[in-house]
Symmetry: C2
DNA sequence: CTGAAAGCGCTTACAG
DNA sequence: CTGAAAGCGCTTACAG
């Protein structure tokens, strides 16, 4: 057959065409496509042959409409740009495409979009990364939960609820940092937390405190100042605190604030780590390029993506009810700043 | 699972429900949804009211199946992780969501996926960022073109064809860099290109040559060495070249190779820019954090995303045939390294 | 093991 | 301006 004919076939082949081609009914073709069993092996073979020869692909919209799955998963993120999110997305997509799923990514006004996706039956499941305020999309999440519609929360789960979720071990990571500080014999410590209501930051504070006390350092001797996760707040807090207090080491609840502290130290000729050690949390993209490179806690973001997607697909395809609650270990990365 | 589907269906209000609710036929409801005109204003009003009250959203699969659009756009990328791609994605999504489209993102084995998306009628259009070898997906692109299916190529277009595309002005950017070098009075120049067959790199080489000649500098006096875009190749080339040649300035076809040169210079106590100036192309995420910060050419990646999506949507919705060919200007960013 | 037939929720000529 | 009806390409009880 000519090139043109071939293309034409490829473009419009329906289940009906396959049925006519090999002399079975649409129902049987459908059974073979969906591996339903209860079809004679020879028939399966013939039909698979026909499908291949005609280059048949089921129309996804028809499949979804008639009760089948969409094989697409919605991923709701606050933004894409930051490496945190793009790395996460990378992990999510890795597994999705491997398992033959498509991903629909949404950031802008995603609450509204989520409802639309659900109602329009566009997806089989949701991966949801909360915005700053975890309670923001509580209504939608509850709705999913009520309908038993598959979803997984990524990052900070919604406090007070027991939804399927995956997050990093903030407590463990900060605890390790505390141990590191103890080993280095840093005694006079400044801890800069994130915003007061931030779950991550609170966990990091708790873990840090825990780790210090395990090494016999009382948290009450630690200067604790609240920042807002911005570079600027790190800078300002350093400026306000370091003049009046002797400090051996600073632990900021994220790398951006640690960067602010580092910039302040450089501007004021404070030697790092000679006079003051500095550490952060996140292993931000810039951290290894600073001078000195920043000691930090690296969260397994890519793995969080792959594991989240694996679990979601299990929820979608599995007959068993699953409510995974996963916590992934972090990794302490000691660099030149401590 | 049966129960689950049933529940879900019950939960969803259909066009039938709207029809019953307000006493018009499904056909008329459909007309109102699609703003078709030819409906009495009062009827429109009543129906819109009913839609709102019932919280009705059309089932996307039914719409697509019965000849409507999917309102989703496939984005094919070689990868997501690098900031180039995530920034691009950000721009693409910004416009897509604003115009009420969803995006389907795919990186892994995307050629195969693309064909599937097309056949299964899952999307209204394609945004395609070529892999290293632009000819790699030539068959698919030709197929789209033949079917008059909307798509736009991003980045390096396929040589020899006239497909709708958008890219940055590599020539103009490198030309500006040449002018900058001339102003700084750098005479002995090392140019490190990318791989020989790389379209971007060739354009940058051409633009650099052009810019130098405009300032009376003969390109033949420039040492031209071919790299492979990696940090390592920048490092190696610096090592092999800078020992035996006096060089005032290095222009690498991307920032990663420039970083390699910078690392070599630091290791060998060559002062930058005192003894050798270094510049790159791309404004990579690390470039502003280096010491000294790297002079480079910043491509308008985010804008490339927004403009590409705007044009694609015009192609999808517009009645007019459009084959946009867009080239976006870059921006020279002079930092401490030159 | 297989098929006929009834949907799934829309759109779109066709008629009036 | 509006509705009845056919159809988009699948899946899934129901029968045999």
């Amino acid at each position: 057959m000519g090139k043109f004919m071939k293309d034409k076939l490829h473009d419009n082949v329906t289940i009906e065409d396959v049925a006519n081609y090999c002399g079975y009914s649409r129902a049987t073709i459908s059974r073979v496509i969906n591996n339903e069993g209860n079809v004679k092996p020879l028939t399966v073979k013939k039909i698979k042959m026909a499908i291949k020869e005609l280059g048949y692909k089921p129309n996804a919209n028809a499949t979804a409409l008639s009760g089948g799955k969409t094989r697409t998963i919605a991923i709701l993120l606050p933004e894409i740009w930051r490496s945190y999110y793009s790395t996460l997305l990378d992990g999510l997509e890795e597994v999705a495409s491997e398992k033959n799923y498509y991903i629909l990514v949404r950031t802008k006004n995603y609450k509204e979009a989520a409802l639309d996706l659900l109602r329009a039956n566009r997806v089989d499941g949701f991966i949801i990364r909360n915005t700053k305020d975890p309670a923001d999309n509580i209504d939608f999440v509850k709705k999913l939960d009520r309908q038993n519609f598959p979803f997984i929360l990524i990052g900070n789960p919604i406090p007070g609820y027991n939804f399927p979720s995956i997050k990093i071990d903030n407590i463990g990571g900060a605890r390790e940092m505390a141990h590191h500080f103890a080993e280095r014999n840093y005694k006079r410590i400044l801890f800069i937390s994130g915003p007061a209501n931030n779950v991550d930051s609170n966990d990091r504070a708790y873990g840090f405190k825990l780790g210090l006390s395990e090494k016999g350092i009382n948290f009450s001797s630690v200067i604790h100042v609240e920042g807002d996760y911005s570079k600027k707040s790190g800078y300002e807090i350093a400026k306000n605190t370091l003049k009046e207090n002797r400090v051996d080491a600073v632990f900021a609840a994220n790398d951006r604030m640690a960067l602010g502290v580092l910039i302040y130290a450089k501007e004021n000729n404070i030697e790092v780590p000679g006079e003051i050690a500095i550490a952060g949390f996140d292993d931000a993209f810039f951290s290894e390029y600073l001078s000195p490179p920043l000691t930090t806690v690296k969260p397994p973001i890519y793995e969080m993506g792959t594991i989240a997607m694996e679990n979601l697909i299990l929820m979608i395809e599995g007959s068993v009810q699953r409510r995974p609650k996963i916590i992934l270990p972090t990794q302490l990365i000691v660099r030149g700043s401590s």
